[in-house]
Symmetry: C5
Subunit: 354 residues, 5 copies
């Protein structure tokens, strides 16, 4: 539940473009890494001061600056000034409760996506905001904490194999988006296992906790939906290639990410449907068990109430009760009692309650 918009209210009344980091501070020290490459050369460096990055500004090579940790607002301010970023972009980068979106500022694109992680014992899904700024020869990526989802891409750049080193900044952006979306499936598979496990538990041994787990999964789905749905539009508008920053050849690849996004959405929706169905099953299994309990009670009561009544009758102390004097009175009463009980049981048998 800690995922509902929080801290946002701090900003009410402040002028637009005010840089305040909203979100949990996740790393001690911001970490800035630079990867600068083209087909032939490749530089990788971790820098302390953001100013070291500015030398790459006018080089034709692709420069990828990755910043982990957003709470040191100064870094962003300097970067923004050097590259001429709009104050609202800087504000949104720090505002980590954005929904995925794409904004075209002509000289650069600003893309917000959510990276998913699962944490804790119950496998709660967490979303981290990743902001990308894509220019003609640079990509800036901003994360709240150091995620390793981008590590394989760094590896591919270092090794120089494949297409990545030969293509421009737009292809790098594609690769980052692709890595994020691909990781969704890792999360979705784990969730799928939980859904399956729950479904089995529901059939074999429904417990009160099952209900809470269903509820928990349900709100997990609401959360995932919020993170994944808007992505469709984001990548869709990138793919339609309205910006000259995105080249035709990259469009095909973006369509591929688009397909994956829709698949992820599909999966989330399927899970939602399944979890909803489970609630129905749970509720009706509760009703069924109530029915079973009531049947036991009714059978016992229906069998023993008349018998107890009979016993009560012959426990009365009237002076004149001829049956009491009979030689075979007692066995007779037993016979009657067993008869009544048997009739009742046959009746329940016929009604399929036994």
């Amino acid at each position: 539940m800690a995922r509902v918009t929080k801290g946002r209210s701090k900003k009410a009344g402040l002028p637009p473009g005010t840089l305040i980091h909203i979100g949990a501070r996740k790393v001690e020290e911001p970490k800035i890494t630079i990867l600068d490459y083209d087909e032939n050369q490749f530089h990788e460096r971790e820098v302390k001061a953001i100013e070291e990055c500015f030398i790459f500004k006018d080089k034709p090579t692709v420069t990828w600056i990755n910043i982990d940790g957003l709470h040191q607002v100064g870094i962003l301010e300097k970067l923004g000034e050097c590259y001429g970023l709009h104050p609202l972009v800087l504000e949104d980068i720090l505002n980590t409760d954005q929904r995925p979106k794409m904004e075209d500022y002509a000289e650069y694109l600003y893309v917000v996506v959510k990276m998913l992680h699962d944490k804790g014992k119950r496998g709660e899904v967490e979303a981290e905001q990743v902001s990308l700024i894509v220019g003609p020869n640079f990509v800036f990526s901003f994360q709240e904490s150091g995620g390793d989802v981008f590590e394989p891409i760094r590896e591919r750049i270092r090794s120089g194999k494949g297409r990545l080193r030969k293509m421009g900044a737009d292809y790098l952006m594609y690769s980052l988006l692709d890595a994020s979306v691909d990781y969704y499936f890792v999360i979705l598979e784990k969730l799928g296992e939980r859904v399956e496990f729950l479904e089995e538990e529901l059939v074999t041994n429904p417990k009160t906790q099952t209900l809470q787990e269903i509820h928990h999964l349900k709100s997990e789905m609401i959360f995932l939906r919020k993170a994944v749905w808007p992505l469709r539009e984001v990548i869709g508008s990138l793919e339609r290639g309205e910006s000259p920053l995105i080249q035709k050849t990259t469009s095909v690849y973006l369509r591929d990410v688009y397909d994956h996004t829709i698949q992820a959405i599909d999966t989330v929706e399927t899970f939602r449907d399944m979890v909803s169905g489970m609630l129905d099953i749970y509720l009706s299994s509760v009703s069924n068990r109530l029915n079973a309990v009531m049947k036991v009670l009714t059978i016992i009561a229906t069998v023993f109430m008349p018998l107890t009544f009979l016993a009560g009758v012959y426990g009365m102390n009237f002076k004149h009760m001829p049956e009491l004097e009979w030689r075979w009175g007692y066995p007779l009463v037993w016979t009657v009692m067993i008869g009544v009980g048997a009739v009742m049981l046959i009746y329940f048998k016929k009604k399929k309650w036994l």
Copy 2:
């Protein structure tokens, strides 16, 4: 519930443009404040008569006239006459149950938004209508009561820092919209806390009041939805820059408010989903408790009914009941009784009712 359209029926049959204030009278005396500024100069005044405002009409500076309290219809009439406002606009300003909307009257834009407040012990959300009229060099804002959401903007104008003093009337309008929407998040966070609190209470200790609180929150959401949803369209159409009164540079800022609005809508929808889910949980927890109650009843009845029957049997007064004469009859009966009880309890153990 007092929020459902009321007082509207007073107007049935009246000609269009009839100025009647619909809404609770919220302030004693209407308060008119003027802020007139450009990059170099700044005037602030509280006036008694609206006529004092008219001197600013033809000045190139930006004039912001804010009117708190709408019940003195005369003020509006004079202002409308001076600035050539359409009678329907004046009527709508007084009609405080408008839904958020934007109307383009070529020379000026008419924008209606809802400002949210929370009042009372239960934190009920209230909506106040704020009407904005935006011309080339003026902004009029009309409120039912004096809200302090705009105070930070006044402060920014006074201080002369930031962008506000350098930009035109459209940027002022943006600032007012932004302040209103930003305040939504304050309200939403408080609601979010109530939702979280309720969710926890639901799991740990559901009470009958919980149900009423769920219902209450649900109708709160219906209400919020009505206030926030149409805003999307309003700001969307402002942002698309169809009116020459909105400059390109302001468009970017409006897109930012647009994003915030969608985020607010998203949050409201998430709350709705969560509150709906809670009702399901509540209902099934009621069922579960019923089940638990019934199990106790059934166990007690099933254990004691046969035993009472047995006791009843040997309470009968038949002359010839050989068991009664037996030396060990009584302990034997006790043994049988304890045996029957134990069998029953084992049966329930096996059925997992204990």
Copy 3:
């Protein structure tokens, strides 16, 4: 329920344009009134024969012919012939179960709206079909019975005050639409009061009739929805000014009616949501009461069953029951009984059932 399409089947198999009045006959004698006016002059007359109206046909003044009562098909036929109305239009006027619609026949517009009334003790909402035919200099309005919703408009024409006398037939049409839609709010407010009353009753004292009232209100909403929803499209298409019969200046006014219509739709939808929520509350309050009943039963049974068993045990007639002979046997049994009862009650206390 009498509102579901009826009588329509009479027309199956008949050629198009066959004039048959479908609907309850609501007035004894059709009433034809003429108002003919321009800015300077004004005539009002009630005529017996429709032919008297034809003299106004070629005058430049605006002629408003209002006909209450549709069962005398001849009137319509003559009017249709004189003004060249399409047979399908005449058929639709008589067919009082049309949904609101607008049809553009180039020389004239045909508009169908629903006027709402509430009748009877339970305040059931009824809808009456009002057909408008709007030409360059005439408006014909057809009602099933004489409604007084248009009376204020007649009054305004008579008095000559305001805009109405100065404007054309399109403005008159607007006024009629506005009067109808404004009256919706009268109906909606009454419904709102019923909804509020019901909601309060639901919380304080839910009864079986409450359920029926909820159901009743629900189908009232379904009915209202059917009457109001299509109006949005009707007025929307009038407002977009696709017909040359609607002047630009009137468009602004139509936008106002459009807003009112959307507000009415909004209110209906809010009511629907509220009534739906009530059903949930009702159902769970029923469950809660069942729970309460079952708890009482269980407590009583759980306390008294073991006690009755104990009493039964010492009511047995075994020869050798040492306890019976004990000096303090009887008080001891009472002590045990009170102890058992107390233990049970403490158990229930702990379980929060008491």
Copy 4:
């Protein structure tokens, strides 16, 4: 349930255009009737061999060939060859589980609609496929069995009255569509009566069969929806007059059918809403009755359990039970018992259970 796609699987794997009749064989012998007319002349004939029809092919008069019964595939093949119909059209005519659709083959239009009938005791609605092929001077109509819905149209052609004889093939098509849609209202009215009857029964005397009837009506609605919804699109696209085969003057008439279709859809949707609401009412009335039953049980148990316990106490056989010796012990016990019972009843009275 027999309405779910059946027999369709027979066609899997066959080449397109394979003529196999799918559907129940409904008539013994196919019946071919020809009506050939223009404003001045009129021929009607029932033919045995389809070849007799071909002489009308090049005449300027309108030729209406109606074929009842589709299982003799040869007829269709010859007709298709003579008039150059696409094999897929012929295949679709025989495939009687098409959804309503319109296909424009330039020289002719192919229209599929559903004719509704109600059959059997429960008034189950059945749908029969009617295929229309409309060319410049011919209309072919194909029915599975001989329906009399088209009889009034034949009558109108024979009599020569009205517009029909003066207009072209497109107007004939309109008339056939209109007749089909008009008949929907006959069916809908009958259904409406069943819905009303059920609603009344639900309130006054809900039975288990009521539930089944609700379920039955619900699936009836699903079925109707499937037949009526697509018609909207079909007639809509005809009305928009994209085909030169449809004349402007006929467009107006098609708009009228379009309106009727929407009205039919509206009615179906209203019924659906009403039937859904009924299920809720039924379920809560079941809950209410359960509540009532449980209250009776609880009252009885709560009153008699303590009393029986008391009686049991004084039925114990302890030697030393001073009360038993008292002179007024017995009446005293009765007094206590009556007192306890009265207290219980007062308690229930206060709780409004009585």
Copy 5:
């Protein structure tokens, strides 16, 4: 449930175009068959090495290469190289959890559809991915396992009858699509039978398993929906003929498949509605049975509790109980008891519980 996205996570972090087969390995050895034909000639061959296919590349005849079994990645790589297929296409072919889609790569189209099979005792529906690549003179089809749905098409090519041999590669693609969609109806009919069977069982003899079967069918529908819905868009975009690879004459045929797809979707939706309705029925039948059980219990308890109480009273051992001494006391008590019992039963009769 094994149908939820699986194995997908293996690909996270890999570069795009990496060829990894995702899905269960279904055949031992990939099987490659070639059919090469035009109107006059026809070759069919099963090849071991994919290289044998390349000789057909530049021939004007239509070449259909069908590959069953995807786990030997090398085959695909070579084919891709020879025909210049985009690496993403090859990747998607191996990724068997694609949703149906169509991608236009100018020189060729890439189409993904799902072929449905039912397997196992419960008739669980399985979906197999079929990828089609369609060029000017070739069609490649890729299946996970050897399905026989395409066998009739092969037969038609061999026999040379019909249109197939005379048309191009686009018509072959159409035929393959048509065969797949036609087979959906075989699956849907079987499902329909299960739905019907279940519905009958629900009415006559609802069991706990019925609920599980309903749940099972429901998730079957979710699964089917996912497979069939996107197909609508796929075939729709093929039919609109945006690609020059699709000829006009084939468009008509594609429209036919389009209609079938919509019909299949319609059927799935109808099943969904029916299955949803069943759950409601099941739940209320459970409630009804609970009601019936409770009535039996209540009747028994209400009849016997007062009687047992009476018997208990006269089982008390008070010294002074005058009734016990009466000559007719015992028969009198019996009379009273029978009277009380009869009154109770009459009461229940009146309440319609018996």
